[in-house]
């Protein structure tokens, strides 16, 4: 973008246009959340009344709470499973079932949601018939479904980091007699912790965002936020949803800004250390 000022070329113009394409609709959402008219498309003056209505909507508030609980639990479990899967794939050389495991890690990344949702529902129905669990579908079944597809994303993020890091530290620890479990927890885990955090956040947002899979595996008891938003959006545009969208966009932007700040600080620290080491 700096170069753009000097000599605009095709690719940087496309980048700016592409970013405008990505952001303008979100700007429109935010602007019209402050519109006093019920019509989302006609500007009638500034107002924050839709935020008030949003916070009085019990259905949306309880759905937010349900979604946050599921996302927290699913992301945490997905980080455990995904990290183990990534570790096994990158560090264990060849073993029986490796092809199966790597297929089952990459397939959920692209599998159409309607197929995943339908297949998991059929599994839960069959399990209920065979072993009597789950008798009621709801938070637990959504948690299992989300954990499964989120762990694939975590595995990809963590595996990328595991391939990057210097293995000689792990090998040195093992050579000095540290058992594999200890090496993993005291050497590998601290080094890959940024990837674990990134994987957890990614899993958390994916779980919060999922409508289709949750709709299939949920029961009458559990309504997640996307399910409530979807049934409202189906009826047409509503400024209350714009207010909700604005809050979501604000939260994600702040979290991204924070992540950027820490990444930049980490990078600066690393460079300073390298400089110090070179001067010494």
């Amino acid at each position: 973008m700096l170069r753009l000022r000097r000599r605009p070329n095709f690719t940087s113009v496309m980048l700016v246009l592409g970013l405008l394409f990505l952001y303008l609709p979100m700007v429109v959402l935010v602007v019209y959340s402050f519109n006093s008219s019920r019509l989302v498309t006609v500007w009638a003056g500034f107002s924050t009344q839709w935020y008030g209505e949003l916070f009085r909507d019990q259905q949306i508030l309880s759905a937010v709470w349900t979604s946050l609980k599921i996302a927290f639990l699913a992301a945490s479990m997905a980080v455990c499973l995904g990290t183990v899967a990534a570790f096994v794939m990158t560090r264990y050389g060849h073993f029986r079932g490796k092809t199966a495991l790597s297929s089952m890690v990459t397939a959920p990344l692209v599998m159409p949601e309607v197929i995943t949702g339908l297949s998991l529902l059929l599994l839960f129905v069959q399990m209920a018939q065979l072993i009597g669990w789950p008798a009621d579908r709801g938070m637990a079944t959504i948690w299992i479904a989300h954990t499964t597809f989120c762990s694939a994303y975590v595995a990809v993020v963590v595996a990328a980091r595991l391939r990057e890091i210097d293995r000689s530290i792990e090998e040195a620890a093992m050579d000095l007699g540290s058992p594999p479990v200890k090496t993993f927890f005291f050497i590998t885990l601290p080094v890959i912790s940024p990837a674990l955090a990134a994987g957890w956040l990614l899993a958390f947002t994916l779980s919060l965002d999922d409508l289709v899979i949750a709709s299939f595996v949920s029961g009458p008891g559990a309504n997640t936020l996307p399910m409530v938003v979807f049934s409202s959006v189906r009826m047409g545009v509503s400024p209350k949803i714009n207010a909700l969208a604005t809050l979501i966009i604000l939260t994600v932007s702040l979290a991204t800004l924070l992540a950027w700040y820490f990444m930049r600080r980490g990078e600066a620290k690393r460079k300073a250390l390298i400089r110090k080491a070179e001067n010494a």
């Binding site: 429109v28 498309t41 495991l101 949601e113 339908l118 998991l120 599994l123 938003v229 189906r234």
Partner: protein
């Protein structure tokens, strides 16, 4: 004595290793692979008014074991032109949207990879940020923009360029815009990852040897970023074929897509066997793209 202790340690390690492998393998087999077998099973059963709404495949009565394999659901899909039209519509729509994503995403990723170092992280975060908000809400944004009383129509009417609103909502056009908008970040990400890894000295060598820019791009840059093109295209195309939310919210009665048809068979008609057969055929159609994606991705994983 010593050797038996070492053997014991090795045995313990082997056991631990197996347990570590087993954990993700068992979870994914139970909750990802096994469900597909059940979809196949239900797709071969008969719809019934029961809970769950399908008949049994195996029955034992009067000392005879009866196995029912009902091909009717698959024959039904073939006999009704609605389903074939829906599959064809999905593939066509997803293909066009993927091509547009690639045409927009490639130059974006290229510019990002060539940007000064301190800009790259910012640009990457800017491209990915929309995908971390809500998919549903990003599709919803276009409802307000494209509708008859929406932003674009109001703007054009205000300027006097058109007399009556253009019909953009509930069309194929709206669905394609929605898919491009929602999936663009997933196209840019793998392309960027490949283009940053591109060795600059190769481009310099080509230019030193007198190759022109376009020629260098076609003969050097494009082949070296092929992995990113495949990964990005599959990340857009495969989920887009089964997309439900976008055709439901932006499409109309004429935009037939298989994800929406499957949803309606399941939730509205409560015909689980037909929905399962629809899913099996979709999976079959997507098998080659999925294997293609997997082959690329597993190289990245190891």
């Amino acid at each position: 004595m010593m050797s038996s202790r070492i053997a014991g340690v090795i045995k313990r390690l082997q056991l631990g290793r197996r347990a570590v492998i087993a954990l993700p393998l068992l979870w994914l087999t139970l909750f990802f692979l096994l469900p597909f077998a059940l979809v196949l099973k239900i797709s071969l059963s008969e719809a019934a008014i029961a809970i769950p709404p399908y008949g049994p495949l195996v029955e034992y009565a009067d000392q005879t074991l009866n196995i029912f394999l009902n091909m009717g659901n698959y024959l039904f899909l073939l006999s009704d032109s609605l389903y074939i039209a829906a599959y064809w519509g999905s593939i066509k729509t997803a293909f066009v949207a993927t091509a547009i994503c690639l045409l927009i995403g490639y130059p974006m990723a290229y510019a990002m990879a060539r940007a000064p170092g301190r800009w790259q992280l910012i640009l990457l975060l800017l491209v990915m940020l929309p995908s971390w908000t809500s998919f549903l809400i990003r599709v919803y944004a276009w409802m307000g923009i494209l509708s008859n009383s929406g932003l674009i129509n109001n703007f054009l009417l205000g300027l006097g360029l058109i007399d009556s609103p253009l019909r953009m909502m509930n069309t194929q056009f709206a669905v394609i815009i929605g898919i491009v908008y929602a999936y663009l970040p997933f196209m840019v990400l793998p392309l960027y990852a490949h283009l940053t890894r591109l060795d600059n000295s190769l481009l310099e060598a080509a230019s030193d040897l007198g190759s022109r820019k376009l020629n260098t791009f076609i003969k050097v840059t494009l082949p070296l970023s092929m992995g990113g093109i495949i990964a990005g295209s599959m990340l857009v195309f495969i989920p887009a074929v089964g997309e439900f939310v976008i055709p439901e919210l932006l499409g109309g009665p004429n935009t037939l897509m298989i994800g929406k048809v499957l949803w309606e068979e399941f939730f509205l008609n409560r015909d689980w066997p037909v929905a399962s057969a629809l899913a099996m055929v979709m999976l079959l159609l997507l098998l080659i793209p999925i294997v293609w994606f997997h082959r690329y991705q597993s190289r990245e994983l190891e």
